[in-house]
């Protein structure tokens, strides 16, 4: 035990000495949390929509006012004689609403008045949001103004659970928190381990009295400490800037966090033991930690949207389970019944990583 702690202390000293790695460990995750949550969010506000009013009547003005009042749309001016599509191809607006002549007359006569909405669908998701918002504005307008409007027989009372404000930060915050933990601690661990074999200091380890498990556990413990430090810093941000709080029983999250830091620290050590050069180890972790957790863990988009040919990979992506646990603890509050097997999976994957790293260490001696 004493030897494990000594080994861990040695690692931590090495981290503190290099400003680059220290900043990487503590500052970068916070910066990433703020930036990425902004860079991934899909809930849009104030989308520019151009209105071409060919009628110019009182009715058309009332109709445009309904769009002006919308929070998600932002009416921008567009000349009546301008080509409507030009507003889209010049990126001046995301959609153009065209009110035809005789709009007001048709409405007064009780005829259905068609209005065209041209949506820039080069961004398919935003296009769906725009057309959904616009049709909600129009149906509200119809309900309020049309005499012949019929009450719909079946009405839905929609309740949004867990995130009634539809804040995308509350969804992406926990995800990017997991991404940070999955990336930076293993990066540092891999660098430290690859350094031992690059600088041949691993030979000193072999001649010392420390056993392989003690050496590895010391390393893993040090990077678990780094990861837990990140957890503290980033969750401070989650609870303040992102406005999250525990939705239910926090114990699954606490247990899973400790296991997950073990898992990622072992992953880093494993890569460092297998890949002899620091630069290559860095790329391997960046690829494994970042690409897998970023793309195949449900961080941004639901896993069921991934094509089936590669979807199965997400079952062994460790970050996936942790993301689900964090989201459950901070948003849904399902507690142990909802997540117990996910905690178990993290423990199993972590143990596998550790054993592989241990086997990799035996090879390091031969290579050194």
């Amino acid at each position: 035990m004493r030897r494990i702690l000594a080994q861990a202390r040695k690692e931590l000293t090495q981290i503190v000495r290099d400003w680059r790695t220290l900043a990487l460990a503590l500052v970068l995750p916070v910066v990433m949390l703020v930036l990425l949550s902004a860079g991934l969010s899909l809930t849009v506000n104030e989308l520019p929509i151009a209105v071409q009013d060919l009628d110019g009547s009182l009715a058309s003005n009332t109709f445009i006012d309904a769009f002006r009042a919308s929070l998600s749309l932002h009416v921008v001016a567009w000349p009546v004689d301008g080509e409507p599509e030009a507003a889209l191809s010049a990126n001046k607006a995301r959609a153009v609403l065209i009110i035809p002549p005789h709009f007001g007359r048709d409405l007064a006569r009780g005829i259905a008045a068609p209005v065209q909405l041209l949506v820039d669908a080069s961004d398919a998701n935003t296009a769906k949001l725009i057309s959904g918002d616009a049709s909600q504005v129009v149906s509200a307008f119809n309900r309020q103004h049309a005499r012949s409007a019929q009450t719909a027989p079946v009405q839905a009372a929609v309740r949004l659970w867990f995130n009634p404000g539809l804040s995308s930060n509350k969804f992406y915050g926990p995800g990017i928190f997991v991404l940070g933990i999955s990336m930076f601690p293993p990066l540092l661990a891999a660098l430290a381990m690859a350094k031992e074999s690059e600088q041949k200091t691993i030979l000193q380890v072999y001649v010392s009295s420390i056993s392989a498990h003690e050496f590895l556990l010391g390393k893993v413990l040090a990077f678990m400490a780094v990861a837990l430090g990140e957890v503290v810093v980033m969750s401070a941000l989650l609870f303040t800037y992102f406005g999250l709080s525990f939705a239910g029983d926090p114990t699954p999250l606490i247990v899973a966090t400790v296991l997950y830091t073990f898992c990622v620290a072992s992953f880093g050590t494993l890569v460092g033991a297998r890949v002899p050069s620091q630069a290559a180890a860095l790329q391997a972790v960046a690829l494994g930690g970042f690409l897998l957790v970023f793309l195949l863990s449900g961080l941004i988009f639901p896993i069921q949207n991934i094509p089936a040919a590669i979807r199965w990979i997400s079952n062994i992506v460790w970050g996936r389970y942790y993301i689900e646990i964090v989201r459950d603890a901070l948003l849904q509050g399902g507690g142990w019944p909802a997540v117990w097997y996910k905690v178990l999976f993290i423990a199993i994957i972590g143990a596998v990583f550790y054993l592989l790293a241990w086997r990799g260490m035996r090879k390091m001696q031969v290579n050194a």
Binding site: L35, G39, L42, T43, N91, R143, S167, A279, N305, Q332
Partner: protein
């Protein structure tokens, strides 16, 4: 002037220059990792991002509580689950059981039909059903709410046709001044099939060009320094300009080939149409590569080893990629961050690519983005040459 120009040209195409370029090519040929990072990222990242990042909302798991147990309620359930958007994930006996299922993650949405549903409809009273949505993912929730309301609207229209009219006293201060209804007819331009991947891959192209160029060039630039051969280069008769040019030219050539591969993937795997000319695309891409190379060079001048250079790029890449609007619309960012995208070359390139490929815009529409991209490239190249010269001397 002409004499001066000629002397510069003579220097550029000199024997010395050719030898230096050949040396760089030789070094790249022997560096396996560099070669891999020229071919693998364009193919792998584009296909992975393009296929895996899809905001499409289909197969929402709908849990149902049917307290009405009537033909009418069963019809509503089957109308909901017949659409591609929803599929039935189970029936529950009470609303609290359904709530548990949603928080356990067994269902994404819940529909509660009250016991008086059929009776209300028969008596021409409006019936209200409850729709619960797991709104953890705000985007999915917004879209699935739209789907659900759309399905309900169609269902209502069918009911009205069957002659089920309801009378309701209007609530609030409505102003029934107009006779007719507004009929909104949306048309989706440029991407009528609403293919998600078109947006993603055109954004990833810009990220790829700048980030990969900077990665490759910083690795190539730092190598001389790491190996200590930079002094030998300085001792040679080659001038600093020649050294820099000879370093950049081969990388520029190879990265341009990478761009062609990437554009091929976009065109032939994702079937993104080319509505505009290819000229804006290529020109913008070359500017991007150049600014990426310059960025890598600047990073390399601040680092002593390849590993340090890579670590430094961890500080540069996240803001560059997340504040670009490459993977999401700029309007989705917080207000205080939106102006920063103006200073991001990736943002301008993504706009150029999407405008010229999908919308068919010409230079007349996107010249501001070109100007911005050109300015960035110019500043970055100047900065990198200055840093590199300083390091050499």
């Amino acid at each position: 002037m002409i004499v001066r120009l000629r002397s510069i040209l003579a220097r550029v195409f000199s024997y010395r220059m050719a030898a230096l370029v050949r040396k760089e090519f030789g070094q790249i040929r022997r560096d396996r990792r560099l070669q891999i990072s020229l071919v693998l990222p364009p193919v792998l990242q584009l296909t992975l991002f393009g296929f895996a990042l899809s905001a499409n909302v289909t197969n929402i798991r709908l849990a149902v509580v049917d307290d009405s147990h009537s033909p009418e309620s069963r019809e509503l359930i089957s109308t909901m689950t017949q659409s591609r958007a929803f599929r039935l994930a189970g029936s529950y006996l009470s609303a609290s059981q359904l709530g548990d299922a949603v928080s356990r993650g067994d269902a994404d949405a819940g529909l509660v039909i009250p016991y008086d549903y059929a009776r209300d409809l028969v008596r021409h009273r409006p019936a209200t059903v409850q729709l619960l949505l797991n709104a953890t993912n705000a985007n999915t929730a917004t879209i699935s709410r739209g789907y659900a309301l759309g399905v309900l609207q169609t269902y209502n229209a069918a009911l009205l046709q069957q002659g089920i009219h309801v009378q309701a006293v209007p609530v609030g201060s409505s102003d029934p001044s107009l006779g007719g209804q507004v009929d909104l007819q949306p048309a989706f331009l440029f991407n009528p099939g609403l293919v998600d991947s078109w947006f993603i891959v055109t954004g990833v192209l810009g990220l790829l060009l700048i980030l990969n160029s900077s990665l490759v060039s910083s690795a190539a630039m730092v190598r001389e320094r790491e190996a200590g051969t930079i002094e030998q280069l300085l001792m040679s008769p080659a001038s600093t300009t020649e050294i820099i040019l000879a370093k950049i030219a081969p990388l520029f050539f190879l990265l341009s080939l990478m761009m062609l591969v990437a554009i091929g993937v976009i065109r032939f795997i994702f079937h993104v149409p080319f509505h505009g000319g290819v000229l804006p695309l290529f020109l913008g891409g070359l500017l991007c590569i150049l600014s990426g190379i310059s960025l890598g060079t600047v990073i390399a001048t601040f680092s002593r080893s390849a590993q340090q250079a890579q670590l430094t790029s961890f500080f540069v890449n996240p803001p560059l990629s997340s504040l670009s609007g490459a993977l999401n619309p700029v309007e989705a960012m917080p207000h205080w961050l939106q102006p920063l995208t103006v200073f991001n070359p990736v943002h301008h390139f993504a706009t150029i690519v999407r405008s010229s490929m999908l919308k068919g815009s010409g230079f007349a529409d996107i010249w501001p983005n070109f100007l911005a991209l050109f300015l960035f490239t110019f500043v970055l190249v100047a900065l990198s040459v200055w840093r590199f010269r300083k390091q050499l001397s």
